[in-house]
Symmetry: C2
Subunit: 508 residues, 2 copies
């Protein structure tokens, strides 16, 4: 299945460019800006980052790291550990990097994932000194064929001064042809993006590059780090049921057909688990238009439930990844990987009318969502693409378990400690307790529904007491709050180890 | 200039349908849903609402009122006063209605202005019992020609069970031809919207309607209520200068050309005043792609600075309105009015790369913006189109004076009491003190810049103290906060009448 590196460089101009990772790393200097391939641990450059970590043992330098999204350990763990990252854009999800970010040691710009490419194109980000992108082949025409993600690779290659290709021969050659690279022109000069169907191809199978910019090709053999998701559990199964129940009501009302609408599902275990819920549902002929394609998408393909999936990466568990690669011929005709600018583009999201499913850290009684900050201050991962989708989709659905840490934390709170998605963008909240359909409701209507349907029973009286008191104090304002008490849930958690007020403990 | 009503009904099928406003009002029953024309006091139905207010003297009923945006006094003041509005969507800006909303007497759904049409189309809003739309003519083909706004009229007419037309002969016949009505198909079935230039026409000059649905035509003579904006002042002049300075830096850096990019400017005095700033600038050949076109747009046309303006309404002061109507021939070739779904469409906003200017009630040190709620609970107007623009534009710029109520209120606070625009969408904040370009900055970088450049000097030490303490307490978390103190500024304001802490008063 795997050919040698030389066979995969099918254009003469590129063949003489093979260098060691160490040599490539030696070109990278303090203060440089690197545009790396990779999206949610998939298709990331690995060899040069590893060489940079080694180089850091004898040389002091820092670089700015721009990527598609979170990368595997070579960048987001080892480079962070080696203290060679100054600034990191636009998403990460690594425990060690997170620690460094929250210690003020790495500057982190948390950004809508469709926005980064526009900022590179406009010149705000840049100039990128080196684009370092993983590829599985270089075609006769000199196109770079990406691997398991497209992410921002095409835009970095276009705008970088120099390009380093990591030719990773661990990827099967059958991946070639699943990518569709389309790069919009500058804002104000571009045409409508012609995409109207999930399975439509509008670009090329690889990334165009000026061969003179390619200064080195590093051969690599290292597979992607497997995803870190955990399997569905009892609570995610309940959430999946509530979500399916909501969809059934939409079909019954005539607002959706049996084929639903293209689905987007956010990164992580909960969104993956809820998507898995379709396995045991009556729905089939599903289409996926998402950023990362996780295990559930391929499980649904195996079950004949998904007819087509478009994403900008696939990030799989070790087991699923192995199975998919062994049977890549079977999947490839149902798959497209696009640049994240396309997978997350408001134009396409709105046109196709996606059903968007993302995970919240916490929601408040008015439907505002915190996706990023623990107790309002500590960065968890980042907003990712959730804002691209929730604002522009047909349905912006957020998932969260109603409690965390054995009930010490309620994920439904009076006032979220950080707002990533405002009440205007949050259509439905799903917890294991039930779902709240918030569309067309005013804040006070929303509050009662969220408390009744989504909060954990142990926290309902405390939430109701907050809401009732705020309602009375304000005399019925549009959004009743008691700002004196709005954040006491977090200060209680910090001081007493639980959000639960003593007075309500009896209700448990 | 004005012909009689009969001459303006150029299709035979419609001529027998003239009824009195009272008769039309008699059809409207308790519990009905009305879809009204009008956007920011322009082109609203006036006669039937007035008749409904009269009818309420002898009959008890309530209706749900869906519009484009805020309407003139006939609906948002008098109907509110008469207690005949149950639910109001998606925007209002009337002092009396606001009072009723914050007393819990009117249910108010505050919504992104591009979203309402999608919800009507999907069936979530509806069925609309009566669409009541102002028109200036009905063409030979039976097209309804709107007046000074398009708003949501076309979608309400399409989806209503019955249509009442208010034929308002106070509008000059030369308005005909300035509208461009394009209605996207359902999500998932639509083509790309072909609009790539501000001055491009992609639709028809009027709204198609099934003549059988038109149950009555009410003749009206009442002009639009003039806008309530106040003229530029010393502070808005400073804000305009800072804004222009920011644009000059963008041109210098090569990120913008001298022609800039199409401008959107939000409703209200401050955005209008800042737009006026272009009068005394080197910039010309400007294009406007906005929702409401206010006085400044026409002043800039008069000065030869604006070559084309596309909006969904124009809302003018009495004086400017008179001048524009007297010279409508001069303006009409530089104007298009579109449905608000088009003026505010993420697809178009992103494609054209708008420079978006909207007003904030307050901003926090991390760049989150409150556009809607006074002290977090009381609704002011609503989010309007600001979210459609800020998320999807090239540049999301927010304006606010740094203090209000003679310094008792700081518009720069530690943590906004309501979030309408998150840090991810706020690129630049402008106050009379200066501007903060937040693009590509992490939260701690943003905080220092906002405090230094935008806060009023009397509040800078207090903001700095909050930030420094939060930084120390968290040890440098991504977004330092002290949640115990985050909202004390509002509780101080409520208790002591000022946000200013005694300890910092000396600094004034």
């Amino acid at each position: 299945m795997n050919e040698g590196a030389f066979d995969r460089i099918r254009n003469e101009q590129f063949r003489g460019k093979i260098v060691s990772a160490e040599e490539a790393a030696s070109w990278i200097q303090d203060g440089m800006k690197l545009g790396l391939s990779g999206f949610t641990r998939a298709g990331d450059a690995k060899a040069v980052p590893t060489a940079l970590v080694n180089k850091a043992k004898t040389e002091s330098f820092k670089v700015d790291v721009y990527t598609g999204a979170s990368l595997g350990p070579e960048v987001d763990q080892y480079m962070a550990e080696a203290n060679i990252i100054n600034k990191r854009w636009p998403f990460q999800a690594d425990p060690l990097m997170r620690k460094k970010i929250n210690a003020g040691e790495i500057i982190y710009v948390d950004q809508h994932l469709s926005h980064t490419a526009e900022l590179v194109r406009s010149g705000l980000i840049g100039p990128i000194d080196f684009a370092i992108v993983e590829a599985m082949a270089i075609t006769e025409e000199g196109l770079i064929i990406p691997t398991t993600s497209v992410g921002n690779s095409a835009i970095y290659v276009e705008h970088a001064k120099h390009v380093i290709i990591e030719l990773n021969v661990s990827h099967p050659s059958e991946l070639e042809g699943i990518h569709d690279i389309y790069i919009p022109a500058k804002q104000g000069e571009r045409e409508p993006i012609p995409l109207t169907k999930v399975d439509q191809r509008i670009g090329t199978i690889g990334i165009s590059v000026d061969p003179d910019k390619v200064v080195g090709i590093v051969v690599s053999y290292q597979p992607d780090a497997p995803s870190t998701i955990v399997p569905p559990d009892e609570e995610t199964a309940l959430m999946a049921n509530h979500f399916l129940q909501f969809l059934r009501e939409e079909v019954k009302s005539g607002r959706l057909t049996e084929e639903l609408a293209p689905l987007q599902s956010g990164v992580g275990s909960i969104a993956n688990a809820v998507l898995s819920g379709f396995l045991n549902s009556e729905f089939s002929e599903l289409e996926i238009y998402s950023e990362v394609l996780q295990d559930a998408v391929f499980d649904l393909m195996d079950a004949g439930k998904v007819k087509y999936a478009s994403g900008c990466s696939f990030t799989l568990s070790e087991e699923k990844g192995y199975q998919v690669y062994e049977n890549i011929e079977k999947y490839r005709d149902q798959l497209i990987l696009r640049p994240q600018e396309l997978s997350n583009h408001p134009e396409i999201i709105r046109r196709l009318g996606l059903i968007s499913i993302n995970t919240a850290l916490e929601c408040d009684i008015y439907g505002n969502v915190n996706s990023t900050h623990i107790s309002g201050t500590k960065m968890m991962n980042g907003i990712g693409g959730s804002g691209d989708y929730a604002r522009n989709a047909r349905l912006g659905i957020f998932l969260t378990k109603s409690i965390a840490k054995n009930g010490k934390i309620s994920s439904i709170v009076p006032f979220v400690s950080h707002v990533d998605h405002t009440e205007h963008d949050v259509d439905v909240i799903v917890t294991e307790q039930g779902y709240a359909d918030l569309r067309g409701l005013a804040p006070k209507e929303r509050a009662q529904k969220i408390i009744d349907n989504c909060a954990h029973p142990m926290y309902r009286p405390q939430l109701q007491a907050y809401f009732d008191e705020a309602l009375e104090q304000t005399g019925g304002h549009q959004t009743p709050h008691n700002l004196d008490k709005a954040f006491t849930w977090y200060t209680n958690l910090a001081k007493k180890g639980t959000m639960l007020d003593t007075v309500f403990e009896v209700v448990q």
